[in-house]
Symmetry: C2
Subunit: 475 residues, 2 copies
């Protein structure tokens, strides 16, 4: 009724009928979930994050999950639940998502309030609709529909939904380290990615890591008159600009010594895979709205985004920001900066290199400090793993075409953590459209992707049950 | 009673008695003047500026000035008043000051609200107490006391107090161009400067000019996810940092081509004059509170501040400034920048050079625009002019020692305008202490300087009347 059009009919009629009958309630539940402003990076929203975790736990319980619990971490609580009655021979899957969301500023660019979700056309519009509450919600809805219509799942499943993905991956990592035994599984399914340009079904087989830091430059204790002092006192904003400019060449090459040491060169096969993706730079540029694309020499646009590291300023501030003019040497200046990292860069090592280089290029007359705000490892996944291939079959069955295999520029540090700590292969199966405005104003989810996503998850469990993953070793 | 201690007694007993008797009322009037938040650079305070002009006009009328009028300009109204009964042989002086003040942020660093003036120790604390309402006020009080006790002045005087000095000098300049005939005078006295380090009586004989501009860098129409887009889209903050860093070497040399073409080299005599000033760099550094002084190679600290041009960022902003982390490529970034200029640099020409250079160094993938927010010419004054020497005698008679002759780093564009448009010599006779925190939180005026300043102005009028300036040509 509200613009969702399944492109194919699944064979499981009762499952489909159930989903049809419960659609209005499902959309209402989805909106309820989005209304809680679970911004993890702002401490003022700490209670909202906990309220969101509680809401999610209740939804999992209603869907029929067991052992539902809020798991305390060093950050916001994670939500754990499971359904483990498929027997020891069936594979066990960990489903991961995050219920926390990005901040919403600049608020004035939203066409409707970010935490008052509305359906516009075929989209659910609201913060978290795509990244990542919408994808958690469709998993819970798939579970509910399967248990309501079949009474069971063909696999064992553990749900692990965290509340600090947009904030600091170290919270969940510490929890995973402490709970690795409990989390034994055969495969981890992360639903925090999306479809390729053109809204083409995709499986993400590579992700960048991230190193996020803040640079603080302190000059005089108070703002100084730029006439009386200018020329003899270092200006903290000039100093910060100098540091930032020193970190990256205008042509996109990062100048931190050692920064590229561990970067895995792209193989001919990997470059061929990038080249095979249906991608038109000029179309993408137009969608992005920038006058020209830029980037590191010697790499294509997709390679720059998927397989090369970056250095970006996420925010900067210092001195007078008002209307008109004020003639001061500001007392201090600040920047939030981050590097997207690629295999095999180590975020902690990159941070140390970054810190040493900032100290080296910092001009005299100011005090410069840096702090690490977040770190996550990059990762790459094998295409031919049976769990990946099972996902590909489920996508084809649901969306009507073979998926693309994509190395995405984003970071989901937990993907590397699952591989490293739980020693499970990771399948990144996500459903958001490429123009979802994640992290930006007017975030939205394609409701067709959402609805078919529910069906795809159900199909995936069937495909996994019949796949080589079902060796039962972990249960 | 509140900590003012005249260091000498003037011969005019009735004048002194009158000032003693009216001190409480004078301080109350001073506070009243400071309470009106006349921030010219913020349009929200436009009415406050007009209210301040009206308050000032009333005060001039009460003091006995004639032809008091609010003069409309393209900005805030200027206040004109005169007293022209000294006869055609007496010199005519224009007294200049500005009633507008700097913005007050960061508010949290003020020990008391900026527009609720209080006396702390021997200081009047509040925005404008020194720069420049306090100095206007002492001129009006000198006029009132002279007319009350003598019934006349020994010279003819025109008062011109403007409301856009902290904002944009072009407003008063345009008015001066249109009113040059009316403003005929023999000398202009600007009271918008102060005493040298150690609170030593000084006459400012040189001022820097100013070119104030804003740089706006526009990238994508909305903030973008730094993972999905990073590496292929130019980051507006990185671009802005690159531009700012390109404008100035870390050693203080400005890189704009042609920037130094018109800079007058310091003569040996000028360098000797700088060297003769009682100044200890380390003491000054300690007062300033910075870890080290910096500046252009080959020049002393006083030369860097008084006789060399600068490029400073007054404020910068873009992207995420909140707590924690947000992973975006900001849609835009902005900076307010200014150059202090020295003889014979032309601010308009410098702006054109700046604009061309920014366009040259701007990286691809963003749209960069610059706008001129303010411009004022530098100036230098002859030490041996009879009007300067009369001021020196008045300072010595009042403060008990010969004044220093100082080239100050600040900018008072009207000083150049008076010289150029009215063709009058300019004497910069100001009384603020060097640690007045002008443009910063906790601006204050030394009340001893203020009280003796009133006496010094009266003495100056007497000295001028007997000087070679009294040739009567202008009246």
């Amino acid at each position: 009724m509200r613009g969702y059009h399944p492109r194919m009919t699944l064979t499981d009629t009762s499952f489909e009928q159930h989903l049809d009958a419960t659609r209005d309630a499902r959309i209402e539940s989805y909106k309820e979930f989005l209304r809680i402003p679970s911004i993890s990076t702002l401490t003022a929203h700490r209670d909202d994050c906990r309220a969101t975790a509680t809401w999610l736990a209740t939804a999992l319980e209603r869907a029929g999950a067991e052992h539902v619990a809020l798991e305390e971490t060093t950050g916001n609580p994670a939500v754990y639940a499971d359904w483990l009655h498929a027997g020891p021979d069936a594979p066990t899957v960990i489903v991961y998502g995050h219920y926390d969301v990005q901040p919403v500023d600049p608020l004035d660019l939203w066409t409707s309030p970010p935490f008052e979700p509305v359906i516009v056309g075929e989209r659910m519009l609201g913060r978290g609709s795509a990244d990542d509450k919408g994808q958690i919600h469709l998993h819970v809805m798939a579970l509910a529909a399967l248990l309501a219509t079949r009474g069971s799942l063909p696999i064992n499943v553990r749900y692990l939904f965290e509340g600090n993905e947009e904030d600091d991956a170290r919270h969940l990592r510490a929890w995973l380290e402490a709970n690795r035994e409990r989390m034994a599984a055969d495969v981890a399914v992360i639903s925090d990615t999306g479809f390729f340009e053109g809204n083409l079904p995709s499986i993400t087989v590579g992700l960048r890591g991230n190193m996020y830091a803040q640079i603080d430059v302190e000059g005089p204790p108070v703002d100084l008159h730029s006439g009386t002092y200018g020329g003899a006192v270092q200006n903290p904003v000039n100093a910060l600009a100098h540091i930032i400019a020193a970190l990256k060449d205008p042509d996109g090459r990062i100048r931190i010594p050692g920064f590229y040491d561990d970067v895995a060169d792209l193989t001919a096969a990997e470059r061929a895979a990038f080249g095979a993706l249906p991608f038109d730079e000029e179309t993408w540029r137009t969608q992005t709205g920038v006058p020209a694309l830029v980037g590191e020499a010697g790499f294509t646009c997709l390679e720059r985004r998927g397989a090369r590291p970056t250095f970006d300023v996420n925010g900067i501030w210092g001195g007078f920001q008002g209307e008109g003019s004020k003639t001061i040497i500001p007392a201090h200046a600040h920047a939030k900066v981050s590097s997207r990292l690629v295999p095999n860069q180590d975020p902690e090592r990159i941070y140390e290199q970054f810190k040493a280089y900032v100290a080296e290029v910092a001009p005299p007359g100011v005090t410069v400090t840096v702090d690490l705000l977040g770190a996550g490892s990059p990762c790459a996944m094998p295409l031919d793993h049976p769990a990946t291939q099972a996902a590909a079959r489920a996508l084809k069955a649901t969306f009507g075409r073979d998926p693309l295999y994509v190395r995405d520029g984003g970071s989901i540090p937990v993907a590397a953590d699952f591989g490293e700590l739980l020693e499970v292969p990771v399948v990144m199966l996500g459903f958001t459209p490429p123009d979802d405005n994640a992290h930006a104003p007017n975030e939205s989810m394609d409701l067709n992707n959402y609805e078919l996503g529910i069906r795809c998850v159900a199909r995936y469990w069937d495909e996994l049950a019949g796949s080589a993953v079902a060796d039962g070793t972990s249960h």
